[in-house]
């Protein structure tokens, strides 16, 4: 039971992060290493607003998501957009950005471990295991967000534009889509997703300025395992890896050290058989 709950929570976090990451990669070809750093910043925003200033937790979550989105857009406009043509430069710009965020948070809040209160308290027990309402709420919000995202991508004109740009940037541009504006919008959505992940997960995890490293790696593993740009793939892969981690932690002695290794080994094994990931489409090579 513990395994199921822990797997569900990790899986849903990874799913949200991975989808945001693969969205911006698909549309703008930006490998955004700072993606999970936005998640960390959002969590700290909530911590500051709800614990330090005593704001309503729900309100502070909304503010945090909005603030992180604006931050993401500003960063894109001033730091990423001018060097878009140089892939390598964008890459290390995002790494440097993540480091800057980490250091700023470290300066403002120090390196201590912080916690945020639950939105709703209370729990019920199934099979001798406590299930907190907060965990259910997190899971529900994640499912809802994923549904909304699916609707946005599949049923609206904006979604059509995003999908077509992801498939072929040049042709989409020729068809009269404003590629750079679209990249901006997608980045907004992507960062908002990261912020939202921070919002729903902040009560369940311990905050520290280095918390972006570990999800970053797992998120990349999910993205690769599921296939870049495939939402269904990210979703399935996130839960595969989430459950693997939970299983390893609970069943193998010293599992906490090995959880990353086992999950990543699974990823590599899958890639040996299917190089484009579980649900990935092998794109025609760009030249």
């Amino acid at each position: 039971m513990n395994i199921i709950i822990s797997g569900l929570i990790t899986g849903s976090m990874l799913a949200l992060l991975a989808i945001g990451f693969s969205l911006i990669f698909g549309v703008a070809r930006i490998v955004n290493i700072a993606h999970t750093a936005f998640y960390m910043v959002a969590s700290y925003c909530i911590y500051y607003l709800s614990v330090k200033t005593g704001l309503n937790p729900l309100l502070s979550m909304l503010i945090a998501v909005a603030a992180v989105t604006i931050l993401g857009l500003l960063v894109y406009k001033f730091l990423i957009d001018p060097i878009r043509e140089h892939e390598g430069a964008v890459l290390i710009a995002t790494i440097a950005l993540a480091m800057v965020f980490q250091e700023i948070v470290l300066l403002l809040f120090k390196g201590d471990y912080r916690t945020v209160d639950f939105l709703i308290t209370g729990f019920f027990t199934i099979g001798g295991v406590k299930v907190f309402y907060q965990q259910l709420l997190t899971f529900g919000v994640v499912l809802l967000t994923l549904g909304a995202l699916w609707f946005l991508l599949m049923k609206t004109r904006l979604g059509l534009a995003i999908r077509s740009t992801a498939e072929d940037r040049e042709v989409a541009n020729l068809m009269g889509m404003n590629e750079s504006r679209l990249a901006m919008i997608t980045l907004g959505i992507s960062v908002a997703l990261a912020g939202l992940t921070g919002a729903v997960l902040a009560p369940l995890t311990v905050l520290n300025p280095y918390m972006w490293m570990e999800p970053l790696i797992m998120m990349m593993a999910v993205v690769v395992l599921g296939g870049l740009g495939s939402i269904k793939g990210s979703f399935v892969a996130a839960f595969i890896l989430g459950f693997t981690e939970a299983l390893v932690v609970f069943l193998i002695p010293k599992g906490a050290f090995l959880k990353g290794s086992v999950a990543l080994t699974i990823m590599i094994l899958v890639l040996l058989i299917r190089p484009e990931g579980l649900f990935g489409v092998s794109f025609e090579e760009e030249r």
Binding site: I92, V224, L228, S261, V262, L272
Partner: protein, 346 residues
């Protein structure tokens, strides 16, 4: 006597006609002279220590460039080779009692095997998939190291290694000369036939395949070469610090290597080395403000990239040198006409 005079004359001619005509070559020559002559000026242990570490990391950054800059196989897990080199030479030194002279090359050979192990599954992957997959390998190894503390020392690492020599100057020359020699070897590799194929693989793998070249073999070769040089860097690091710890395998280590190499300018070999020699001492300089150290470092990288996305060393080279529009030979930026074909510059 006559022979000596002849060679002296020849040397003078080469210096005058080949080195002094281009500012970048002058800078490289000065770099060699300053590095080799530094102990004559100062023997401050702190300065010596920083230059030794800088040299070790310069080898590492250049080896990343050999693989990722040249063949375009973005490797985000370069710390793997460094860590494997460090750990294996440490274990060989400790358990087989082989002195550092033997354990460092042996550790590098283990890193070559690691390169093969990583390279074979990665051959089927491209671009971002490859980058994200390679990131996984050092983390897998870290997990294994933490799970087997009896053999690897767990979090504490393998300690109590022997140094090459205990003399300050001896250590300095050992590391600096190794760095310079390896850098020249790497530069020669990239300048050779193999290097041209590496270049071509990055630009257009399909065209290379169509020309009847076995790209798989060359990509594996790149992985092995890069693993070898990074393994040597790892072994040197382990023996210099006298400890091989899990910090050599950290994600931030892999990222730092990428930052160094791209900051200097990828696919040049001299770019990453120059970048390490600028950034690493800079980071040490910032220790006066310890809380802001990493932040200033990241901010410097961000700002410089914003203005020089091609890389810092590249940018400098473009400022001090011009390419002749007719014969494509490089000239000092101060010249009005090309030094070979006398065509007007700019």
């Amino acid at each position: 006597m006559g022979l000596v005079l002849f060679y002296l004359k020849k040397f003078y001619k080469i210096v005058r006609n080949e080195v002094l005509v281009l500012p970048s070559r002058v800078i490289v020559a000065l770099f060699f002279i300053v590095l080799l002559g530094l102990p004559l000026v100062t023997q401050d242990p702190y300065v010596i220590r920083i230059i030794i570490l800088t040299s070790i990391f310069a080898i590492l950054a250049a080896s990343w460039d050999l693989l990722s800059g040249f063949t375009g196989q973005m490797n985000f897990g370069h710390a793997l080779f460094f860590g494997v080199g460090a750990y294996s030479s440490a274990l060989i030194n400790l358990h087989a009692h082989i002195p550092p002279w033997g354990s460092v090359p042996l550790g590098a050979m283990v890193a070559v095997i690691a390169g093969l192990i990583v390279g074979i599954p990665c051959l089927r992957l491209k671009h971002t998939y490859l980058a994200l997959t390679t990131l996984a390998f050092p983390i897998i190894l870290t997990g294994i190291i933490f799970a087997l503390p009896e053999y690897t020392g767990g979090e504490l690492g393998v300690s109590g290694l022997k140094r090459f020599t205990n003399s300050l100057i001896g250590n300095y020359y050992l590391h600096v000369v190794t760095m310079l020699v390896l850098a020249v070897i790497m530069w020669k590799i990239t300048d050779s036939h193999t290097g041209i194929i590496f270049h071509a693989i990055r630009e257009d793998e399909l065209a290379v395949k169509a020309s009847g070249i076995n790209t798989t073999r060359y990509k594996l070769l790149a992985f092995c070469l890069s693993g070898f040089f990074a393994g040597i860097a790892g072994g040197l690091y382990a023996h210099y610090m006298r400890i091989a710890g899990p910090s050599t395998l950290e994600v931030s280590m892999s990222f730092t290597v990428v930052i160094w190499a791209i900051f200097g300018g990828a696919a040049t070999i001299y770019g990453p080395i120059g970048a390490v020699f600028i950034l690493f001492p800079l980071l040490e300089f910032f220790r006066f403000w310890p809380e802001y150290r990493t932040m200033i470092f990241a901010a410097v990288v961000l700002v410089i990239l914003l203005y020089m996305p091609e890389g810092f060393i590249h940018w400098i080279r473009d400022k001090i040198e011009k390419e002749c529009p007719r014969c494509k030979i490089r000239n000092a930026a101060t010249r009005k006409t090309c030094r070979v074909c006398t065509a007007g510059l700019d």
